[in-house]
Amino acid sequence: MAGEIVNTLISLIKSMCVVVVVAYLMTRSKFYREILNKKLTFDNLTCLIMACGLFSIYGTLSGINIVGAYANIRDLGPAIAGLVGGPVAGLGAALIGAIHRYSLGGVTALPCALSTIIAGLAAGAIYKLKKGEFIGVQGAVLFAFFIESLHMGLTLLLGRPYDQALIVVKQVALPMILANTLGMSIFAFIIVNLIKERTTEAEKEMIESELKVAREIQMSIVPKMFPPFPDRTEFDIYAILEPAKEVGGDFYDFFFLDDDHLCLTIGDVSGKGVPASLFMAVTKTLIKAEASRASEPDQILSIVNDKLCLDNDSGMFVTVFLGVLNVRSGVFNYSNGGHNPPYFVRSGGDVEPLPKTEGIALGVMEEIPYGRNTIKIRTGDTLLLYTDGVTEAADKDYKLFDEERLEEVLRHAGSDEPKNLGLHLLDEIRKFANGAEQSDDITILALKYLLESRDMSMQVKNDLSEIESICRNVEEFGETHQIPPDVIFNLNLSLEEIFVNIVSYGYEDKNEHFVKISMSLVDDELIVEVEDDGRQFNPLEMPEPDLEQTLEERAVGGLGIHLVRNLMDELDYKRTDGRNILIMKKKINQTG
């Protein structure tokens, strides 16, 4: 007896394994996916009917012999077909299984065939009731239980002779109910699993399409056509925006305020996804609208900030850098709301971040004061605006690209055309990241100033004999730009005084050194720069001579700087990288 039970169990387990395999294969098939999507076509229904019908036949053939009667899982196939595919599928599979069984004959031929058909139809009815939704594991198992109970009942009702039918039922009722409910639970579990998987996939797709929308918003708003102003030869401009997978809300923009003034702006919204891109769109639009009202960069940021704060329920904020370039003169006015200071790459190769100005990100609080600064951009200089997607690009060890690497790239490629510079920088970032996922938008905006502005620049040796050459160049510059002779006089005098100081006191060695003198005329102001690599010397610190002294008392020295102070309007000194830089300014339309 025990041996028989063991054999029965083993056969049962084998059958269940077949069930698992069949269930798995069936549910992973293409036709089943369509059925799951409630797309019932002739083709996939046929597949379902065939599969479940054949499985039903298998159920009959693989029946476990229990004292002459066969416990089997014939009803399972049609039941599955009906539950997932509706009454047509259920009936179709059932007919296949039922006809095959009936053709085998025997005491229980009729009740078995009948209950198989009932299984298929009842399952189909449930499908219709649930409007195509799968009944679930519990429901399926209960259904299987009832169908098999019904099967046993039918056998007693219809089986002839009755007493033989009774014997069969006594033998097989328990194992059949057990096997069918077990088999059904396996099937149902696998189906439910698949459904869950599909739901998760659908949710993922929805999120991805939302991100796609965000990216589309972002990309459609920023200017993408290059060159944007083909007829403007004063500068060359190029921009790149590489959105991260989770869109980060970067933006950039450039537009002319009038014929001579180009507005440049770049920003980064806190947050990701559609909310960030919408906030970015609002910010960009506000900036453009305000800038058109011909205000200064700091005023633009201030007004846009107040407006952003007004209806900012989301609590998002945005860092913004905004500057206005006078393309005629190279004067660049800018203001910064908490954004990475752009880099200024001089044509000589010096790389420096723009001096900081007062102000924080926009959208945080109203009435924030914003500062403003002005620099002069010369021929061949480049401005590089960027967002922290550049400096915070990370590799797989979470090392950051950082300002140092950015500056290195700018030092080497800073004089390239903006497009080459931008693409090269992006390439360097990608190489650095080495496959690590991009976590933030990368935005790069490069502008190179091409206009040969009213400039002059010369390098002279540290020798007094060079004074003549300096003088000649100054006079030539003055003639070219119609600078009044008294200004030329003062300029020559000031340059001589400064130059003589450098030559006489700047060097301890007897070597040849070069002094760079450059000047430019900007909006009726003459700006002169003298740069040398001598020892630190700030002429502004020289004491003033006492002009009240008598002839006898007067010291012989100290006059040179005094003259320069009085002849020039403004003097500035700084020491950078081992060089003295003196800047002198003089307005021209004043008399002398």
Binding site: I467, L547, T550, L551, H562
Partner: protein
């Protein structure tokens, strides 16, 4: 720069033509020093054709004036052009030099 030397009685007149800058001021200095060592002590510097002066030139003039005064003499200037005049003003030299508007006037001041 050209230096034209003339003697008018006890007064040495030096007419400067051109620029008095760091380089050329050395020449002027040499000239004045040699005249002083020859005993000359009354000087008129006619700057009618002087187009430019820098602090080096001012220094030479200052030293020349001090030395002349020290020897019991004087150094005066004449005919300063506008820009040169301005430089003198800024340097405060108009306080310590006598400046005349003609060579004759300058000479007769002695």
């Amino acid at each position: 720069m050209q230096i034209t030397e003339n003697k008018r009685g006890a007064v040495t007149v030096l007419e400067l033509d051109g620029r008095l800058d760091t380089v050329t001021s050395a020449d002027l200095n040499k000239k004045i020093m040699s005249l002083l060592s020859n005993g000359e002590k009354y000087f008129v510097l006619d700057l009618a054709r002087l187009t430019y002066v820098s602090s080096a030139g001012l220094r030479v003039l200052l030293m020349g004036a001090k030395k002349s005064a020290g020897a019991g003499g004087r150094m005066v200037l004449a005919n300063l052009r506008d820009m040169v005049q301005e430089v003198f003003d800024i340097a405060g030299f108009t306080n310590i030099f006598s400046i005349y508007t003609s060579q004759d006037e300058a000479i007769s001041s002695f």
